[in-house]
């Protein structure tokens, strides 16, 4: 099944692993959970030798253990879970993994936008059917959240703060009374949530103040703040993990040399330091230089070497992709990159040699082409 999808949801992608975990899970499971909380944690954070399992479970989300524990525990309690953090910190990925592990369904998602209405959260009507047969359960279109309630599984709400306040407040009754009434119907007009229903919402902390949550909604959610990854080791693992996944998705058989990964991480760290010390916006790159951006650069370089190169990832290609991805404004971004290349990369290539020399050359050419 995964072969037919561009990107399989976590429960499909890790179906085999989840099946196996379910088969060995003897811990107490809350409500209708498919796995016990400990197994959910194991699924998300991967196994250790000390866990004494017969097979290794890969780590899928990189970050502090206590965040995952707090998130799982919240879902087992009465409250909804709100993951809050900067863009690119892996909030949605964690939400997807949790939903997949707990209820084997991570696709019941409402995307919060300025155009989201209450109908998207509760239900809407199939107009032609209503005209033909009148209002009934049959002609009703339940929202993903309502479906989650009926099935007793986890529903997801992405970018909660992007939707307007009145729409957000529709969640209040769902989270406290745990039912949705359908006043249009005369009978069978209440949908009760089954045990196991909960909501994982994500919110971007940069957007705070756009549509602030009401206090009533805030107290129905437990907030778990996901910080930005600053640890180089964790970042390397995230980049490697995501890139391997991408390679598999594109069916590309290409090796990722560790030295090149180091160069990529190092150059991003340098550029971030430069951006932090810049005096004005002109002095820093437009890009946020997030971990997701690094993955983008690497993916670009891999695709380039696969289709136009000799199927080996080279430092020159990586440098070209980096310049290409980060130079968004001319001449400001190009000037910064030019300064970086001559001020940092050049001395380093003389000192350390190795792949840095290729990186220097590739970057120079890319900058020259774009200038």
């Amino acid at each position: 099944m995964t072969d037919e999808m561009l990107r399989a949801p976590a429960e499909v992608k890790y179906a085999e692993e989840l099946d196996w975990l379910e088969s060995i899970d003897d811990g107490p499971k809350p409500f209708s959970w498919r796995l016990s909380p400990r197994m959910v944690r194991l699924f998300v954070l991967g196994s250790e030798r000390s866990d004494g399992l017969d097979r290794e479970i890969a780590q899928k989300w990189f970050g502090d253990r206590s965040f995952v524990e707090r998130a799982i525990v919240t879902l087992a309690s009465d409250r909804g879970l709100l993951l809050i953090g900067d863009p690119g910190t892996g909030k949605s990925w964690l939400a997807e993994l949790l939903a997949a592990a707990i209820s084997r369904n991570s696709t019941l998602v409402v995307q919060g936008t300025a155009g989201t209405t209450e109908d998207h959260i509760k239900y809407s009507w199939n107009v032609s059917m209503v005209i033909a047969k009148g209002q009934s359960r049959e002609s009703m279109i339940p929202s993903p959240i309502m479906t989650a309630m009926e099935q007793g599984v986890i529903g997801r709400f992405e970018e909660l703060t992007r939707s307007t306040s009145d729409v957000q407040d529709a969640l209040i009754s769902i989270l406290s009374e745990k039912y949705v009434s359908i006043p249009e119907l005369d009978d069978d007009n209440i949908v009760f949530a089954q045990p196991g229903f909960s909501i994982i919402a994500t919110a971007n902390s940069r957007d705070r103040g756009v549509n602030d949550l009401s206090s009533a909604l805030k107290r129905r959610f437990n907030f778990v703040r996901i910080p930005v990854v600053t640890n180089k080791k964790s970042e390397a693992e995230i980049v490697r993990f995501r890139t391997t996944e991408l390679l598999r998705r594109h069916n590309i058989d290409l090796e990722l040399p560790p030295t090149l990964l180091d160069i990529l991480l190092q150059s991003f760290a340098d550029l971030r330091a430069a951006a932090a010390s810049a005096q004005s916006d002109d002095g820093k790159l437009e890009s946020a230089l997030s971990t997701a951006e690094q993955i983008g650069v690497l993916e670009d370089a891999i695709l380039h070497s696969n289709f136009f190169g000799d199927r080996t990832l080279r430092a020159e290609t990586l440098a070209g992709s980096l310049v290409g991805s980060l130079a968004r404004r001319t001449p400001e971004d190009l000037a910064i990159l030019n300064k970086y290349w001559h001020g940092v990369v050049e001395p380093r290539s003389k000192k350390d040699g190795g792949e840095w020399q290729g990186f220097l050359e590739g970057g120079r050419q890319a900058i020259a082409t774009l200038s």
């Binding site: 944690r41 250790e48 525990v73 009465d78 805030k218 107290r219 907030f223």
Partner: protein
């Protein structure tokens, strides 16, 4: 087969299974058992401890009651021993401190050296100290290296003091009993990762503290030594820290052997309390029956060490020793709970709160170690059952506390926190929620996207679980200086020892008896300027000023440490200040300005002439030796202020002041020509020199200086920059060499010459600065500025205006009011007057009140008659000034021709005042 034979075999098998062959791993595992065996088999009973471990404290209390040892050897700097008796008067936590400023044998850059050893109530060492000090016949011997050796063994290339933020401890080097932590980061990371905990304190609590809390003594000892041995064996082999650790072990065993030999004490009745790391020592000197006993203890350096107690706090300890925030508080709370639950009666020093007499118990039988370790390692630790009431209490309290701190939390949150704590403990494999689980649960349920108040939920949890406790040093243990300060502040009516900010209001007119208190507060402020121990809200202390009312914020209780450290320097604050002032003027880099400042401070804070005169004499020497004039403005300002003070308050100037003026006159005359041309000397400096020379001239001349020296110096000066040229002209005007008309002409030439116009503003700056030396030039400077505004082209004037304002504000703030006053006199005050106004300098000579003919000689009147009747003094003055000419004959006594007609009219209208004056003068003349 030894005691642990079975365990050793079992571990060997385990090593084989995991590592594939019994190699290194087996060596480590069985080596650990050997260490345990060795430590427990030692004749002198070793009590391994870990810092801030309630389990250690409880085990210690239990063991002391059982064994009743006669001698206790404690791993603590041996020179701190006398301080321990003082603990009785203190509220814990406090820190023992050794402090040294006079270094001998250490690099100067290391000073001041400071070592602190914090003592908390929930610690094994406090149990041992309390037992030993309160039980008659028990001797407490500190055996670790002295504070001096701490620095002797410090690597020389490193800076002397680690830069740790430690709040109450300042930047002291911390020493602690029972430092037990993995010696390299990877091991700690590994343990934390596999223990599924966040920080070291949590790991320790979960894997050692909890299981050991109810363990018997054998188990406790074996487990502690085992962990000590583990960290000892898994460590970088080349670490310098380890060498020092081993040296410390040799030191301690040597000291113990010496003590035993000297006193003949029975090792069976002794107890050696040391960190678990040292209990697993493998140095050759280990044990009473060691093979090597020849460790050479190096003598202390000649550094003069001072000792005292300073207040400490849980957060200061956490910061200094890199523990997780709140961990010491949580340990204290755990300890308190364990002691109230019963089972063990802890020792406490008499005189301290909750002090209880130790129960009499019979000496315990010698300990026969039994293998408890195998059981501990092979079965999961037994955990306490859920303490439901405690957790419920926490949940309710945290919600209450959060509400008070601005969170919108309610009972629903209390329920959620309770549920989440239990769920979290479940997922983390704990039978009951630890304080750490509770903290996480509270953060999850109560913390939202913003923190409404000053404290977040994590901090509130720390407060709830015991909070930061801050110690207090008892009055009796304070140094004499601190006691003296508290006694002298008593009239203010506050208990300054309390930890509060006292607002002190002093009405010095109504209650002059409080003046000494005010003086003391000023001295304290001068000595502790950075701390907020004493802070003036209203009132000031400057020469020539006297406060009528003052208001102070005094928080000496909060800042005990600063006051105590002041106590290391002297017996009274005045003595300390005197020493500091002396030190400041004798420093190699001291300047005359510094010395004058010291004189000012001596007058202000110490009173009396002795110190001020001594410092003043030094100022003269410093001035004579100075080759730079950078400080000239400062010197001028200060000496003027001092002269004004002495003239107002003393019958005669002090001798040093006179010498200072004459030395300064000669010195500045000598340096003037160089200063005028030197590029690195600014206009302000030269102006200040000229100011000194002209304003001190009369005094200097009366003391024997020669004016020709100044004239020559001015003649030798050939400045090249516009600002200094203007200064030179002003100096020449002041000396009478240059007439005002010539000066005016020169300025007009400058303004007419288009090549010079751009630099004209700099001339102006020079003239403004020259007001310091030639105040008579003020009207002229106003004239020049007005002329410049009128004539300078906009392209020169406009860019220059901001520069002028900035220069005036920065370099001549005191001269601006003079200029403005003069301008106010010159320019019309009303709009109507503007039309008719003609600038004084543009009027024809003789057509205004400002321009007058030279006053004619007085030819009559009572004054003239008086002088004519007694010509001798006038003749003598004339001869002295070299003024030739004789006496003019007295006229009819009419008003002199040319005298102002208004004055004559005024006198004619009101003759009585003039008549009375004439009567007085005549009477005086006749008398």
């Amino acid at each position: 087969m030894s005691l642990f034979g079975a365990l050793r075999e079992q571990l060997n098998d385990a090593a084989e299974t995991f590592a594939g062959s019994p190699g290194a791993l087996s060596e480590i595992l069985t080596g650990m058992v050997d260490d345990v065996d060795r430590a427990l088999g030692e004749r002198l009973e070793i009590f391994p401890v870990c810092h801030h471990s309630p389990a250690s404290a409880l085990a210690m209390a239990r063991r002391l009651r059982e064994k009743q040892p006669q001698v206790i050897y404690l791993e603590l700097c041996e020179d701190l021993r006398p301080l321990l008796d003082e603990l009785r008067t203190c509220k814990l936590p406090v820190a023992l401190q050794a402090f040294a400023t006079d270094l001998d044998g250490f690099p100067e850059s290391w000073g001041p050296l400071s070592v602190v050893a914090p003592i908390t109530e929930a610690s094994a060492e406090y149990q041992a100290i309390a037992y030993a000090l309160d039980t008659p016949g028990v001797e407490l011997v500190l055996v670790d290296r002295s504070s001096d050796h701490v620095f002797q063994w410090h690597p020389r290339e490193e800076p002397g003091r680690p830069a740790e933020e430690a709040g109450l401890h300042g930047d002291a080097v911390g020493v602690e009993i029972g430092d037990l932590r993995p010696r390299f980061a990877e091991l700690e990371e590994h343990l934390l990762h596999h223990g599924k905990v966040r920080h070291w304190s949590e790991w320790w609590d979960q894997y050692v503290e909890q299981p050991l809390s109810g363990a018997d003594y054998d188990t406790y000892r074996q487990v502690m030594v085992l962990i000590g041995s583990l960290f000892r064996r898994l460590r970088p082999h080349d670490s310098a820290k380890l060498d020092r650790d081993e040296d410390r072990e040799r030191y301690m065993w040597t000291r113990m052997r010496e003590h035993l030999a000297a006193t003949g004490a029975d090792p069976e009745r002794c107890l050696y309390v040391c960190g678990a790391f040292h209990a697993a020592s493998r140095v050759e000197e280990f044990g009473l029956d060691a093979t090597r006993t020849d460790f050479d203890i190096s003598p202390r350096t000649a550094t003069n060490w001072l000792y005292g107690l300073i207040p400490s706090s849980h957060s200061a300890i956490e910061a200094q020793f890199g523990l997780a925030p709140g961990s010491v508080s949580i340990a204290a709370a755990t300890y308190a709970k364990a002691t109230t639950r019963g089972g063990v009666k802890p020792y406490a020093l008499k005189g301290q709160p909750s002090s209880k007499r130790p129960a009499k118990a019979k000496p315990a039988a010698p300990l026969v170690p039994a293998d408890q370790l195998t059981g501990f390692l092979s079965r999961p630790p037994e955990r306490d059952p859920l303490d439901e009431a405690e957790l419920l209490g926490w949940c309710v309290d945290i919600v209450r506390l959060a509400r008070r701190n601005g969170y919108l939390s309610s009972t629903a949150d209390a329920i959620a926190v309770y549920e989440t704590s239990i769920l979290l403990a479940g997922i983390r494999g704990r039978a009951r929620p630890t304080p750490y689980d509770f903290q996480d649960a509270a953060v999850t349920c109560i913390e939202k996207d913003t923190v409404p108040g000053r404290r977040d939920v994590r901090r509130l949890c720390e407060i709830l679980l015991g909070g930061d406790r801050i110690g207090e040093v008892g009055y009796q243990s304070l140094p004499p200086l601190a006691q003296d300060v508290f006694e002298r502040l008593e009239p203010l009516g506050f208990d300054m020892k309390k930890r509060a900010v006292h607002r002190v209001l002093l009405d010095l007119n109504a209650t002059p008896e409080l003046r000494p208190c005010s003086q003391l507060l000023w001295v304290l402020r001068r000595l502790m300027p950075d701390d907020h121990a004493v802070r003036p809200i209203m009132g000031s202390k400057q020469l020539g000023e006297r406060s009528i009312q003052e208001s102070w914020d005094v928080a000496l209780g909060h800042h005990q440490r600063a006051l105590i450290e002041l106590g290391y320097e002297g017996v009274t604050v005045e003595q300390v200040l005197e020493q500091r002032l002396r030190r400041s003027v004798w420093e190699p880099k001291a300047t005359a300005a510094d010395a004058l400042q010291a004189v000012e401070e001596a007058i202000l804070f110490l009173g009396g002439r002795r110190v001020a005169d001594e410092l003043g004499a030094r100022a003269v020497d410093l001035l004579a030796a100075e080759r730079s004039v950078d400080d000239a403005p400062d010197v001028l300002r200060r000496i003027r202020r001092l002269l004004a003070h002495y003239r107002a308050s003393e019958p005669a100037l002090p001798e040093w002041c006179e010498r200072f003026v004459t030395t300064g006159y000669a010195q500045y005359c000598t340096l003037l020509p160089t200063a005028f041309v030197a590029e690195d000397v600014g206009v302000r400096q030269v102006a200040a020199m000229l100011g000194f020379l002209s304003s001190m001239e009369s005094l200097a001349l009366s003391l024997g200086c020669d004016r020709a020296q100044l004239e020559l110096a001015v003649r030798q000066s050939h400045p090249e920059t516009p600002g200094k040229i203007a200064l030179l002209w002003a100096a020449q005007f002041q000396l009478g060499v240059l007439a005002i008309a010539d000066l005016r002409e020169r300025c007009a030439e400058l303004l007419d010459n288009p090549l010079v116009v751009p630099s004209f503003p700099q001339y102006l700056s020079g003239f403004v600065q020259a007001l310091e030396a030639a105040p008579a030039l003020t009207p002229f400077v106003v004239e020049v500025i007005s002329g410049a505004f009128a004539k300078l082209p906009d392209r020169v004037l406009l860019p220059w205006l901001p520069t002028l304002i900035e220069t005036l504000r920065k370099e001549a703030p005191e001269l601006v009011p003079i200029l403005i006053r003069e301008a106010g006199r010159t320019f019309p005050a009303t709009l109507a007057a503007v039309d008719a106004w003609v600038a004084p300098w543009e009027r024809a000579p003789g057509d205004g009140p400002g321009v007058r003919a030279a006053p004619a000689a007085v030819t009559g009147g009572p004054a003239a008659e008086l002088l004519a009747a007694h010509p001798a003094p006038s003749d003598a003055v004339a001869a002295l000034l070299g003024c030739e000419g004789g006496w003019a004959p007295l006229g009819s006594g009419d008003a002199a021709p040319g005298a102002a007609p208004e004055v004559a009219a005024l006198l004619a209208r009101h003759p009585s005042a003039a008549d009375a004056l004439a009567g007085v003068l005549c009477a005086a003349g006749k008398g």
